[in-house]
């Protein structure tokens, strides 16, 4: 998608099941994957592409001598071609399991898994060659970087199961288990810059070095038990309890317990129901889940200061303020559900209602630099989620040769911040994430409001004698127009402009099969949410957005002056001296439109055809009799069609990295790909 970038993936997998004796079975599975490729910073690419003048062909990026073809701004394709990062990951995942059943009512299970990988990254950029007119973009004086990460996670689970008949009608099962998880990740890297020979990409050729190094280790243990009771095979009760011990909290807080209880009533097996109603179940449950912090959230200290050359060392305060008294977070969820099937499973539904309250949520809040820290680990407060989940399925058509079954899933969640840690009136988790002048938006948690609120600067509006709402901007009110004929920005004042969490999400899966042919389609939707569109903010500033073509025309902005009268002043939307003799400076789009958040916090709702797949099962007569049992070929298309009002790239893209909780800002990222897969499945 981005020139000079690629991704390759090669994997192998082996699974075996071994029967050591009638009572003892074992299994081993192993998989090995090698993946990697050349990467480039999509944000930088998008930014440089926006700056690049439309007069020139951006694909003409290099001169015959091999230096950048300079047209006034840096060419992003030259950047991708010369400033390279290649990663190579070797990942090995292996597991072994044993199950031993000494008697009919007792069995033991032990599972051990290892996930380990090494990630090597090499960065190279050539130095300047001293040729006339040479522009080096981000390559500086050349660089060579070699970074290595090694990761190892071990997971060991031991389980004992016992089941017995407690009375004539009740069967009981008791399960006890112990789980251990141990994870270690180490990294070390060195970046050499100032290359003596411009294209000799070896560390020995560099004059200045920057070293980075780190280690993260984590352990957790869990003891758990589960008791299941089965009354006459239609009423089921399940009780669980788990004690977790973690290395990420202080000794006083590191061990915590959480239980759950659930009741399941298959009333179709208990009560006589009409013929057309199949299996039906009523479910009720309460569950408490405890969770620990990310590693080292309780510590504060000093890190290496990187502003010194080799030969000097210094210490600087580490960026995160840890909290030694950090407590685990707990979530209490109450759930009620009903599932029913009709007409011999031709139609079924499953609906669940849940109400979930999370307390003492652990998060890294962004705090004022006047504290000396960038972020602080805190028990942020409590947040409530409640909603419904619905799955509707059925087989509308079923004949000898043709069948169509469909499944619809729908969920809607309402979120609310109930309270915050004492002393805080708001917690910022995404501060000022990019944009021109006063357009950067803020994401913060405020009691009484939901997660995902987007706060930004807005157009001033005319309220007359009415009171102006301090939180919401009333878009039904007329814009306030200044004496110069242009609308007015609220500058640094911010109001609630949107929310990044959807009102509902849903999907529809359809499977059509005719004899040997099967067609499956998946349609996804995420509806009722907004995002701050950084890409459009950029494009408005550079006259790339299609609506900016009106900048060679006059406009009378629809709105009201400060004194309440309607605006009639005609202004030129272009730059510098307009045909009316007035100097418009940088012009409407650069001086006004791009300078505030409101035009760019927009509806990002989307519906897409996520995938469509056509499969043909080869008839047995075509296959060599003994060698191949079955075979099928299929062609699948992913991301085939998208409907959205969002400007620019796919609104599923994010400005932040995939591990971030800041999901309300998008633009200048890798766009989502449309891909096609051809698969051959052969069974031996």
């Amino acid at each position: 998608m981005l020139p000079f970038t690629d991704y390759k993936n090669l994997g192998a997998r082996l699974n075996t099941d071994i029967t050591i004796s009638p009572k003892l079975k074992a299994g081993v599975n192993m998989s090995f994957t090698n993946s990697g490729g050349y990467r480039f910073d999509a944000d930088r690419f998008g930014e440089s592409l926006t700056y690049y003048s439309g007069r020139w062909d951006v694909r003409d990026y290099v001169t015959p001598e091999g230096i950048q073809q300079w047209r006034g701004t840096n060419n992003p394709i030259f950047g991708a071609a010369t400033n390279r990062l290649k990663d190579n990951v070797n990942r090995y995942i292996a597991g072994t399991n044993f199950s031993y059943a000494p008697t009919q009512w007792l069995n033991f299970n032990y599972r051990l898994g290892v996930d380990t990988y090494t990630d090597n990254r090499i960065r190279t950029a050539p130095g300047p060659r001293g040729l006339p007119g040479e522009r080096t973009y981000d390559n500086g004086d050349g660089l060579i970087g070699d970074y290595n990460t090694s990761y190892r996670a071990i997971n060991s689970t031991f389980l004992a199961n016992a089941s017995t008949k407690l009375s004539k009608d009740i069967t009981g099962t008791l399960r006890l288990g112990y789980e251990l998880y141990d994870r270690s990740s180490k990294n070390a890297g060195i970046l050499g810059s100032q290359l003596s020979i411009y294209n000799d990409f070896r560390l020995v050729n560099a004059k200045v070095f920057e070293v980075s190094q780190g280690k993260t280790e984590y352990r957790s243990n869990g003891f758990f038990g589960e008791a299941n009771f089965d009354y006459k095979d239609f009423l089921f009760l399940s009780l669980t309890g788990r004690q977790d011990i973690t290395s990420t909290l202080s000794p006083e807080n590191r061990s915590f317990f959480y239980p759950s209880a659930s009741l399941s009533y298959v009333f179709s097996d208990n009560i006589k129901l009409p013929e057309f109603i199949g299996q039906s179940k009523l479910r009720l449950s309460y569950a408490k889940i405890g969770k620990d912090a990310s590693p080292y959230s309780t510590s504060t200290g000093f890190s290496n200061y990187t502003g010194l050359p080799t030969g000097s060392t210094g210490l600087t305060i580490s960026s995160n303020l840890g909290d030694i008294n950090l407590k685990p977070e707990f979530t209490d969820t109450y759930e009620a559900g009903l599932e029913m099937a009709f007409f011999n499973n031709r139609l079924s539904f499953d609906v669940t209602y849940y109400n979930s309250l999370s307390k003492d949520q652990i998060t890294r809040a962004q705090i004022s630099s006047a504290t000396g820290y960038v972020t602080a680990s805190i028990n942020a407060g409590s947040i409530r989620n409640r909603g419904i989940e619905l799955v509707l399925g059925g087989t509308p058509i079923k004949t000898t040769n043709f069948s169509w079954d469909a499944s619809l899933n729908f969920s809607a969640n309402k979120n609310k911040v109930i309270s915050l840690k004492e002393g805080l009136s708001e917690i910022v988790y995404g501060a000022a994430t990019g944009g021109y002048i006063n357009s950067p938006v803020t994401f913060k948690l405020i009691p009484g409001q939901p997660y995902g609120n987007i706060y930004g600067s807005y157009y001033l509006r005319y309220y007359g004698t009415d009171k102006e709402d301090p939180v919401y901007t009333d878009k039904n009110r007329p814009l306030l127009i200044g004496a110069n004929g242009f609308p007015i920005s609220s500058l640094t004042k911010q109001k609630l402009l949107g929310n990044s969490q959807p009102d509902w999400i849903g999907g529809l899966t359809n499977n059509f099969s005719y004899k040997r042919l099967t067609l499956s389609t998946i349609v996804d939707a995420r509806w009722g949410f907004e995002k701050f569109n950084r890409l459009e903010n950029f494009n408005s500033a550079f006259g790339i957005a299609d609506y900016t073509s009106d900048r060679r025309s006059y406009k009378v902005f629809d709105g009201t002056l400060a004194n309440g009268t309607p605006n009639t002043k005609q202004v030129w939307l272009g730059q510098s001296l307009g045909p009316d003799g007035v100097n418009y400076g940088e012009g409407y789009y650069r001086l006004y439109h791009r300078s505030l958040s409101e035009p760019f916090v927009q509806d990002a709702s989307w519906v897409r055809l996520r995938s469509a797949s056509l499969q043909y099962a080869l008839p047995a007569s075509w296959l060599p009799a003994k060698a191949i049992r079955n075979a099928s070929i299929s062609v699948t298309g992913n991301n085939l069609w998208l409907h959205t009002d969002y400007y620019g790239l796919d609104p599923e893209s994010l400005s932040a990295d995939s591990g971030s909780n800041v999901d309300g800002s998008a633009g200048m990222t890798y766009p989502a790909a449309r891909s096609f897969l051809f698969t051959l499945n052969v069974g031996f």
Binding site: I20, S21, L24, F98, Y100, F108, Y110, L112, P128, G133, R135, T136, F158, Y178, L180, Q194, V208, E210, G214, E217, R219, I245, T248, S250, P251, R254, Y296, S299, G301, F302, S303, Y305, T306, G307, L308, S312, T313, G314, L315, T316, I317, L321, G322, Q366, I367, S368, S369, A370, T371, G372, V374, A376, L424, V428, A431, A432, I437, L491, T492, E586
Partner: protein, 480 residues
Amino acid sequence: MQKIYKYPFILATAVTLIFQSCGKEYFDELSANPNQVNVPTLPALLATATSKAGLRTYDAGSVVTPYVQYTANPTAGAASDIYETIDYTGTWDGMYFAMADINEMKKLAASTSSEYLGVANLLIAYHLIIVNNFWGAAPYSQAFDPSNFTPKYDTDQEIYAASMKLVDDAITELSKTNATIKLAAASDLIHGGDRAKWLKTAYAIKARLLIKASKTPTFSATAVLATLSNSYTSNADDAGMSTFTLRNSWAQVSRNNAGLTLGGWLSEQFIDHLNGTSYGLFDPRLPKLTEATTVPNNLNYPKWIGTVNGAGNRLNPPNNNTVKDENYISFISPWTNDTAPILLVTFAELKFIEAEAAFATDKPRAYAAYIAAIRANMLKLGLTTAESEPYVTNPIVSVGAANLTLALIFKEKYVVTYLNPEAWNDARRHNYGYKNFGMPLNAVLPTFIRRLDYPIGERSKNGTNVPAEAPRTTKLWWDL
């Protein structure tokens, strides 16, 4: 596998794993962050403190140079030239993170070393003064407290008083000669561990603070002169930081410009100040600060010509913008080459403070200081007496004690504070009264800029405490 081995094997594996976890140490050994050090050392913090003081001086200088028109932007209508609001969250954060590190050194030195304590007090004051110069009111009394995520803002004058107290405390501590733990020479990137030099620098910062209030009713010229008598006596005392990962930050700007990532273009105001256009006398320091233009095929093209603030790159057809037809910050200049120090405060600047303080009561002393300052700066730039004297003795410069004016003092001081953030204080006190100093082209403010807007980062994270927005033409408390 033999029956006899199976069961014990499984049991043993499970049991070892369970027992491995039982000890408290099993978790304790992983709860501390191995990537951090819990107890720092004074030399390690000193290296960071002095390095940051130098680099933050560059950051502050970069903010100031377009406003005092040392530099101009090659793009017409650039935000920094035309007084548009700019988000300086990075600069603000840099100052506070520097103060936080230096505050750790202060806490560590509080009962152990008067020398380190003195340097810590002085360097906190140094950064706090920069914040005060740019924004006025700022957090300080509630800052650096891990239990307070939203420190309140002290007023403009409270910050001024707090920085004065820090400097006075620094002077008290640095005056003590019997410290058991002395400054580590290799870690002190400004004065190489010399306590006496730090004491003089403390007096220098104090003199700067006092002269800043020159227009306020409580100003005392005698206090300034008394402070100066304890401060620098020659260029050798100058405070500068020259330890860089790669090179001097201004040299980097200059090299980037040569590689055509444009920056560091000198303003027409500064060049005309030096090339004779504004004051009628060519200043021999000009070729030492920058390099002459190189325009092919045009022998009559002026060698010394700057960029007009707000107007951008001169068009000069048929040359495009790859031709060096204006002057830029130079990496050959002794002031801004790869190994040059970033200067925090210089002897020449202090001489001008002396001239300004003595002006009202002792004109001969003021005049002597004025001339000495110019000579010191020329010497620092590597001019020989043969090169500097024609300028110094010229009647345009050597006007005689009776004809000395404050305008002349500020005029010459403007050259000496080249690229230093202190220049903005002087410009504001002098009402930007340098000859031919005009508003930038297409400025968005009606008059000269007097302060910065609070950073967006602070409004996001500490919004309830940040003062209400005020126009950037609002004067700070001492700017009367």
